[in-house]
């Protein structure tokens, strides 16, 4: 693995390999007084975030630090980015400084792909290699989120293949949904999307999933339900009439959560809009894996950095 740009870079074996490494790293750290592995000592990981984010950036930073990498955080404001430097120049500059890995989040879909193409072109000339990790590009993908969701599902359900996973809400604008649909399909799960027609992407029928119109009808058959964030700026547009009506149709209320089978898991990539997307009692209830997602996020990102910078373990 040279870069991690899209979940479609991973076949089932590669994805499972990452999940296994994540589990091993988690075990290795369990009960340690000093949570530090020497694995990436002397390596430099730069996070470059062009969008506000707390959990993903911090998660990558902790992942790097727990493996003894030197981590440097660059944010778009307060850097040369705000002086009009192009993404290309910024990336090549960081690469020239000797970054072993650049973790990038950017509002433009495909930004990570472009970065990788520029860096690879540059590497051919300079002989250096910088790995790019996509930490969310526009409405395209968020591969480490899908991996941490898969790790959480595997942990809770014991397996992913053959499981039925519902993804509910704003699929159209969701990079999390895209990465999850394709990764879960690769891992053999059956994916069901439930969303108002205005929030379903064109051609979703050709994705490896099914579209179900009625959330209540789907819930009893699901092993897990993943609630998507509805971005505030969409709530007053033309996508749906009101937050109230959205909550009635697509929110995971306490009554609705009761339709899930006993073993089913509830996931949310955060940040949650409580009340509208998910009832507080459900978010904090026993089915909820929301905090497990967050803690698995660190281990998955450790695994990704490890595979990229140290090579996949034998």
């Amino acid at each position: 693995m040279k870069h991690l740009l899209s979940v479609t870079d991973l076949d089932a074996a590669a994805a499972t390999g990452l999940l296994d490494t994540s589990d091993r790293l988690k075990q290795a750290l369990l009960g340690r007084e000093v949570r530090k592995l020497p694995t990436l000592r002397g390596r430099t990981v730069i996070t470059m975030f062009y969008e506000n984010s707390t959990r993903t950036r911090v998660s990558f930073e902790i992942a790097g630090k727990w493996m003894s990498a030197d981590t440097v955080n660059v944010s778009a404001s307060g850097s040369s980015v705000s002086k009009g430097e192009s993404l290309r120049d910024t990336a090549l500059t960081l690469s020239a400084m000797g970054a072993d890995c650049v973790v990038v989040r950017h509002p433009a879909s495909g930004a990570a792909h472009r970065l990788a193409a520029w860096i690879d072109r540059d590497a051919a000339a300079t002989g250096t290699h910088t790995a790019i990790v996509n930490a969310g590009d526009g409405t395209h993908e968020h591969p480490t989120q899908a991996l941490l969701d898969a790790a959480t599902l595997r942990e809770r359900l014991g397996s992913i293949a053959g499981r039925r996973i519902g993804i509910v809400g704003d699929v159209l604008h969701s990079r999390v949904a895209r990465s999850n649909v394709f990764l879960l399909a690769t891992l053999g799960a059956e994916v069901v999307l439930v969303a108002p027609p205005t929030l379903l992407p064109v051609g979703v029928q050709q994705w490896p999933c099914r579209v179900g119109p009625d959330l209540d009808a789907e819930l009893p058959g699901l092993d897990a339900v993943m609630m998507l964030r509805v971005q505030a700026e969409r709530m007053h547009g033309t996508f749906f009439p009101s937050a109230r009506e959205y909550a009635i149709g697509y929110g995971l209320s306490t009554a609705r959560a009761a339709l899930l089978p006993e073993h089913a898991v509830v996931l949310h990539p955060g940040p949650m809009v409580r009340g509208m997307e998910i009832a507080p009692a459900v978010a904090d209830g026993p089915r909820s894996a929301v905090l497990a997602q967050v803690s698995n996020g660190v281990h998955i990102r450790m695994a990704v950095l490890y595979h990229l910078l140290a090579g996949a373990p034998q």
Partner: protein, 462 residues
């Protein structure tokens, strides 16, 4: 076959027009003839003309010869849709570099779109473009005037003043933006009808394409690129056809990109609406499948659509629903393209590749013959643009304004070697059929074998 390299003394665009003997050319790919050009006009034409001149030629050797054995002779191409970027965008293209690209592509006239800086919405700017085109002299540069002041879609520009100016503007467009307001479009068409000029619409309902980055289809939705739905084009064309019918005005639809628009055009034409339409070479060949690497060289407005669309557009060009091929030649300097997709400017080069794409997409599959190529690249665009001396029949008494095409030529596209100041060709590395052996504008050779005639390059060394 070897032809002499371009002669800088004789082939300066401003040199006096010598007599020219074109030997062995095949008009429209048909039987070979010789043509004697005198004073920029075809004086004699027929088989064996060259032999007779060789026999009768006195000590001076007779007229200069342009050996055209095996070459297809077509009327010089006319592009209704070119962005020359000057004034204001000289980092991407100038009237000089764009004229050179045009001459090398077989073009003898181009219509320069008004989205420059300043916008060509006044007589001053359109006269500048026209005059600079004449100074360069490689191709007739006809400025397109803006429909509205500053391309802002609100207030009509001085169409009459531009039409009556020295630039004699015949085509008006806000290209790059749509005249979205139906009332403004109605008034523009009504006003244009009395002037005898054409309104060329960039058909895109901006309310349906806010933030749009790519064709609203399977590829864009997987890539997370906001969709530009075909309905945004179809609905504006339908509306404009209704308005043009009511106003009795001439409407030209720029760069039709979607199969769905064609039904609207067919109905309007059958109904007697004065509507014409163009398609770009890239919409005839390329699809959104090219987008998966997010390389903005494929970013264009309207966007690349699907294989069903390219097939329907080819058929529509053949059956006349679409009148012409226009390049939408849109040079962009590297800094506007070597970016993330959303930040990149839309558009791609077209002048030097248009003929080859038409041959590749239509002639080779047997959809169009050379008469058809003459129709879509020269005759119809000249008629729509109101150019009396372009797109003419190849006959005695007609202007010697030609493209000489080697139908067996094959070349590999390299953006860096094209004449444009920019290199944003989507055909990089592609091997394409048909080369332009020579371009002749009113008896003057403007390009031959990949080199343009000497001309005023703006550096003070004419």
């Amino acid at each position: 076959m070897s032809r002499p390299a371009i002669d800088p003394q004789k082939e300066h665009v401003n040199a006096p027009v010598d007599d020219l003997l074109i030997v062995g050319a095949r008009p429209y790919g048909e039987d070979p003839v010789d043509l004697l050009v005198r004073g920029g006009v075809v004086a004699e034409m027929g088989a064996g003309l060259a032999e007779r001149h060789d026999r009768d030629g006195g000590p001076g050797g007779g007229p200069r010869r342009l050996e055209a054995d095996g070459l297809v002779l077509l009327p010089g191409f006319v592009d209704l849709h070119t962005h020359l970027r000057e004034p204001g965008g000289e980092e991407s293209e100038t009237i000089e570099t764009g004229s050179a690209a045009a001459a090398l592509g077989g073009y003898t006239a181009v219509f320069a779109m008004p989205n420059t800086d300043p916008v060509a919405d006044s007589a001053v700017v359109v006269e500048y473009v026209r005059r600079r085109g004449e100074e360069v002299g490689l191709v007739d540069v006809h400025p397109v005037g803006a429909v509205t002041v500053g391309l802002e879609g609100a207030k009509l520009a001085e169409l009459g003043t531009m039409a009556r100016s020295a630039a004699r503007v015949r085509l008006f467009s806000d290209d790059g933006r749509c005249v979205n307001d139906p009332l403004v479009m109605r008034r523009a068409l009504e006003y244009a009808s009395a002037l005898g000029v054409v309104i060329a619409q960039h058909a895109e309902d901006h309310r349906l394409t806010a933030g749009a980055q790519a064709h609203d289809g399977v590829v864009a939705s997987r890539l997370g690129l906001a969709g530009w739905p075909a309905t945004a084009e179809e609905t504006v064309v339908a509306r404009d056809c209704a308005l043009a019918r009511e106003a009795g005005a001439a409407l030209h639809v720029c760069h039709v990109s979607s199969a769905r628009t064609l039904a609207v055009l067919r109905a309007a034409k059958a109904d007697g609406v004065r509507v014409s339409a163009e398609v770009t070479p890239h919409h005839l060949l390329l699809t959104d499948a090219a987008l998966t690497a997010y390389d903005p060289v494929h970013k264009v407005n309207p966007p690349l659509r699907t294989a069903e669309d390219t097939a329907a557009l080819r058929a529509a060009l053949v059956d006349g629903t679409i009148d012409v091929v226009a390049t939408d030649h849109a040079p962009h300097a590297a800094q506007y393209k070597d970016t993330e997709w959303a930040a990149a400017r839309p558009g791609m080069l077209g002048l030097q590749t248009a003929l080859s794409i038409v041959v590749h997409a239509l002639v080779e599959p047997g959809l169009l013959d050379w008469r058809g190529v003459a129709r879509v690249l020269s005759e119809r665009p000249a008629a729509i643009g109101g150019l009396p001396d372009h797109g003419r029949p190849i006959a005695v008494g007609e202007p010697a304004t030609f493209a000489l095409v080697d139908p067996d030529g094959v070349w590999t596209v390299r953006g860096a070697t094209l004449a444009s100041r920019s290199a944003n060709t989507p055909y990089e590395g592609m091997r394409l059929p048909a080369t332009v052996a020579a371009t002749v504008l009113r008896g003057r050779i403007t390009a031959r074998d990949g080199r343009v005639a000497h001309h005023d390059d703006g550096r003070g060394t004419p």
